[in-house]
């Protein structure tokens, strides 16, 4: 009985130290983001390249947080890409990236506000416009900006 208690205690301590050691969900988001931002510059230079990066991240790692980080990083690069033509073909590529984010969001079970906060953008609402390409009702919510 005592031995069981000791083992249980040791297990609990191990679990507890593992939990206290970091924010794994956030770590996955950061890893996913880095997978896009640290890709060879040519890979992320076009909407098509970014769509490929986001989709491959979603299939490479089973963590939805990883896919979320990659998808949001791709969308953020899209927003910063002033040269993007936003043609019909581009729009389809953007929609593929948005689907990566929406699927990851659903798998992670987080709300829209969290997606906007995780976008890393100082103007989180800018991500809304892209998300609405797929879901016209999608919104960061009323509390996105300063809570």
């Amino acid at each position: 009985m005592t031995r069981v208690a000791v083992i249980a205690l040791a297990f609990a301590m191990t679990l507890s130290s593992g939990i206290a050691s970091g924010s794994s969900f956030m770590d996955d988001v950061d890893r996913g983001r880095a997978s896009v931002l640290s890709a060879p510059s040519g890979d992320a230079a076009t909407v098509a390249g970014r769509a490929t990066l986001a989709e491959s991240a979603a299939t490479r790692d089973e963590s939805p947080a990883y896919a979320l980080g990659a998808g949001l990083a791709a969308l953020s690069l899209d927003l910063d890409d002033k040269s993007a033509r936003r043609s019909k073909a581009d729009r389809a590529l953007l929609e593929r990236q948005v689907h990566v984010v929406l699927n990851a969001q659903a798998a992670a079970g987080i709300g829209n506000r969290a997606v906007c906060l995780l976008s890393g953008r100082s103007d989180p609402r800018s991500i809304e416009a892209l998300m609405r390409l797929v879901d016209p009702a999608w919104s960061c919510g009323a509390h996105h900006h300063a809570d």
């Binding site: 924010s23 794994s24 956030m26 987080i110 709300g111 906060l117 103007d123 900006h145 300063a146």
Partner: protein, 353 residues
């Protein structure tokens, strides 16, 4: 044999006492345990610049590469920056996990006036006093205080990878579920400490979650953290203000009237924003009258406060560059006469006050 049986009974009794004691301890420790993610705070801390405009003014055309914001930042209830214009900010993430064995339940903010306050600027309820942000010098003395007022406590992200616990708490039914975390990323307005005009050097960022223990937890020692931060020195020269023209003694000016200030400022990489300050005690204390004058302006008309009558007024112009370095020059002393109450509706320039 009897002795052996007695020993067994004693061991059994001790085990029972131990089990009861453990159960009691477990009950005493039931509850939420909010844990500040200090590594996250450390890894996200960074110095940034931004330009803020007084809410009622049209934003001047400034360097588009510098983020411009200010929805509620300059609202009197928030005052998240020391003034309008370009500011240097220490931004950082705050991530708070609930690692207890019970949810933190706050509920509908409308039903908890003891904990929440309605923000007219944000148009929703804020938890007052959820966190304390402060910057300490190397000796531990506070040099700046964060001003973030608004916190909506909710299940923002799961704490751990692979969590399958559904989100429960939102801004309208606030709380933090076991296994979830609330997240205030550095990108949010007011999620910073304004470090404008602090000398470069090493400092300590201290964040205390739940500093007043308004939220009951099983333990409080893991609610706070302190990390080292550095404010780097600028590598370029600061701006220079080499002339300020304000009223001379031959010009009679009254409190409440328009005052035109002219000056000359320059910088090796360009002046970004400029400030005009007023002293009514010969330079002992100063009040900022306007803080976001565009860098290309060298003249500005502003209305003197109605209570500014003094024999010893001075005007100070502060110019700031993209590194938020300052250059300044103070005018000679001049007199501001009491408001002319004989002409309450017409100013000396003929306009309506």
């Amino acid at each position: 044999m009897a002795t052996g049986r007695g020993l067994l009974c004693a061991i059994a009794a001790l085990s029972a006492v131990s089990a009861i004691s453990a159960a009691t301890r477990a009950r005493a420790q039931d509850g939420p345990d909010l844990v500040l993610d200090v590594p996250r705070m450390q890894s996200s801390a960074r110095i940034a610049t931004a330009i803020y405009h007084a809410p009622t003014k049209r934003a001047p055309a400034l360097d588009a590469t510098v983020p411009v914001s200010g929805t509620c930042v300059l609202d009197p209830d928030e005052n998240c920056v020391g003034g309008a214009g370009i500011r240097k900010l220490l931004r950082f993430d705050v991530l708070v996990h609930n690692r207890g064995n019970e949810d933190l339940v706050l509920g509908d903010p409308k039903q908890r006036p003891d904990l929440f306050e309605y923000s007219a600027c944000h148009r929703h309820y804020h938890f007052r006093g959820a966190a304390l942000y402060e910057l300490l010098d190397e000796s531990g003395q506070r040099v700046r205080l964060g001003r973030k007022q608004g916190f909506c406590l909710e299940d923002t992200i799961p704490s751990e990878r692979g969590s399958t616990i559904p989100k429960k708490y939102t801004c309208t039914n606030q709380g933090i579920q076991v296994g979830w975390a609330d997240f205030y990323p550095a990108i949010l307005d007011c999620q910073w400490i304004d470090v404008t005009d602090l000398p470069p050097g090493n400092y300590k960022l201290h964040v205390a979650w739940n500093p007043n223990r308004l939220m009951t937890e099983t333990r409080y020692d893991n609610d706070e953290g302190t990390v080292d931060v550095a404010i780097p020195a600028a590598t370029d020269a600061p701006p220079v203000v080499d002339a300020v023209r304000a009223p001379t003694s031959s010009i009679r000016i009254h409190a409440g009237e328009l005052l035109e200030v002219a000056w000359r400022a320059h910088d090796d990489e360009g002046v970004v924003t400029q400030e005009i300050w007023l002293s009514t005690d010969d330079g002992e204390t100063w009040k900022e009258l306007v803080g976001d004058v565009p860098g290309d302006r060298s003249r500005f008309s502003l209305r003197l406060p109605t209570d500014s009558a003094t024999p010893n007024a001075r005007i100070k112009v502060v110019a700031r560059d993209a590194s938020v370095q300052r250059g300044e020059l103070t005018s000679p002393s001049f007199r501001i006469l009491a408001r002319d109450l004989r002409l309450p509706f017409i100013t000396r320039s003929g306009g309506v006050p």
